[in-house]
Amino acid sequence: MDRKIKILLAEDEVLIAQCLKMELEMAGYNVCSFVAKGEEAIITAEKEEPDILLMDIHLSGKMDGIEAAKKIIEHRKIPVIFMTGYNEIAIFEKASTINPAAYLEKPVELFELKPIIDSIFS
């Protein structure tokens, strides 16, 4: 891809979000924004039209990351990478229903993300 890959980051822990944004941008990606709520993610996705979603499953607010992602890709089919701190089969199964590009367990390191993103857009 010529231009930078646009990432929409959804993460309710601000410091982690800030750090990730910094890392990703240093790695050459464009993090258009980060949101803490699922509902916000949907609105922002419509507005910003990112290339890829980087979703924490546990978000503040009523909607969880999986539902938000579902809504977003109904609109625009884009790859989703889920992040989760919870190790539960039920959540994994729920997440699998929308066929994410990756399902990573936190803490998520750049050296994990980069190869995945690159392989999606190569």
């Binding site: 800030q18 701190g85 936190k106 050296f111």
Partner: protein, 728 residues
Amino acid sequence: MKKILIIDDQQENLTAIEKLVHNYISGCDVHTATTGKEGVAVSQLEIPDLILININLPLMDGFEICDKLKAIESTKQIPIIFLSQNKVSSAINIKSIKRGVNSIITIPIDKIELTTQIKVIFRLQEAEERLRQDKTNLEKMFDDKANELHQSEELYRSLFEESFNGIIFVTKEGEFVVCNNAYIKITGYSIEELSSMDLNQITPVEFQEWERKEIFEKQLPQRGHSETYEKEYIKKNGAIIPVEVTSHKMKTDSGDILYWSLVRDISERRKAEDEIKLLNNTFEDSINGFSIIDSKGKFVYANKAYLQMWGLENLNEIVGKSSASHFDNPLDHLTMITKLEEFGQYLTEYVAKRKNGTNFEVLMSSHLHRSANNDIFYVSTSLDVTDHRNAEKELRRSETRLLSLFNSMTDIVMEIDYSGYYLYIAPTNANLLFMPSKHLLGKKLNDIYPKPQADKFLNFIKECLNKNTTGTMEYPLVIKDKIVWFEARATPRTKSSVLFIARDVTIRKQAEEQIKKDLKEKSTLLQELYHRTKNNMQVISSMLKMQSMRSEDKFIHESFKEINNKIIAMSLVHQKLYRAQDLSNIDLKEYIEELVDLLMQSYDIRPEIVSLSLELEQVFVLIDSAVPLGLVLNELISNVFKHAFPNNNGGVISLRLYKERDDTIHIHVSDNGIGIKPDVDLHKAKNMGLQTMFSIIDYQLNAEINYESKNGLKWHLKLKDDLHEKRV
């Protein structure tokens, strides 16, 4: 009235003779005939007693007439006197006599000759008549007598033949003479066979001597008859039967002595006798007391068992004595006699008194018996039921105990059979019966509960019965609009039923639920805690990273990486705890595998350059040890990646983990890199990382560490994971 017929053609003869007869012969009629033909005809008609015929009749002479008369059946016996005109020659005499003519008288008739002859003939006829009469009478008498004899002979014959008893006639020597059918039946031999036999052939040897001496040689000759004696016969088929014999002596007409005997087959009687004996013995030997008293209540008979029950030695002790003394309460005795007299039978239980004065309980059944000569007896069967009654009392006592036990229980106690029938519901104070007892008894589980619940109970009961063990189950029921939890035990009581005891455990169940809930909550909270810790560590890591990224300083970058790795090492422990849902231990094998992986990525080690050799057993450590141990491992492994293979040299890093029998955990971290200079003592190194590591090992972990620098650096860590108590 006599009749005479004269056949003469001369009237004067007829008249003269007629006159003669009338005058000199009384009671005699005269008939006449003038020709022979007439005379024959009249003779046939009148059948005279005498016929006088004139020889010299024309047409038919006297001889012809005589022949004619003799030829006729009715007249041939009539005496004939010829009358002759002429002197009678001897030839004519002979001729006449040959014809049966009585005499010839010449005419003129001499009245005296004629009358005399007539009288003689008449007298003779009378005499003949009398004789005939006598003969007839005698014949009749003889017939009567013969009949009588015949009748009595018939009688004797039938007596002989038809007698049920065998009758046998033998000679003095014992040879068979004659016998009747009954005898044949008794012996089985035929008459022909018997006729050539003698008594000894059908008498068993043991009787022969005695019979001969006593009966044949003593009693019969002396008395003419014998006593009735018993002996045996050997039947033709070899069977031996008992017989009863009475013998008699008799003399025949010819003076011979015959013995005849009445023989009776007494096999049936014997059988009956034996049965009576058996019956007697049965009574005598019966284990039931058996006694007979007379109408006055005095003992007539008592069997062994009765005597034993009352402590008596001998029947003589009580025979003739009143049975009143056998009753503890004399009223009982009186009642018995009264009732027996009134109803003829009586069943009672009473307290009896033994000879030695001790008491016992008797169950007695009596009935009236009338003997052949109308005497009244009371026959009783008595049973000692003392033990029985005592057992009953004991039973009642234990029943009472049981009832009061039940009364003090609040559990539900029931007996249910394999089909689910409520057989018994104990009267406990259970206020939690699904339905009142009376609605349950006789019904099945399927009648009371909906099918799924009833089936659950039934299967539980069936399993207990099949395995013949006690089983427990818990189940909830809705009683009075509340959910009540029961814990039930079922124990097989018989092959087909169980004792089912249920207890209200709602409170316990609720407590259990609460505890479970609390535990779950605690566990969830703990997990949350680990998650949060992990999260927080990531926050810290992020903060440090951002700070590091703001600087261009390499040292800062390096420092950050090192700190971050340490944080990763610690965070990994919490991650493992959270993931395994184990709140106390982590799997060191898994931990090391992931830590190495993460560090390799962190230090950007390419697997083609540095290869991994992992020999890790599954070993668990407590979390208190896991975190410091993680830091130690982080230090050791990071150092390999940082220092062992400079200038892109390749090599192998090898890690070994195992546990010894004494529970010591061994960890080897080795490389085949450049190692360290021989004069360097790492323990004294100023490197902070190493110093921290040594301190952790010495003070925080119950461990020892050594190293060897030979073909690279080889660390050996020994750890005993017993410093801390498992907390959760």
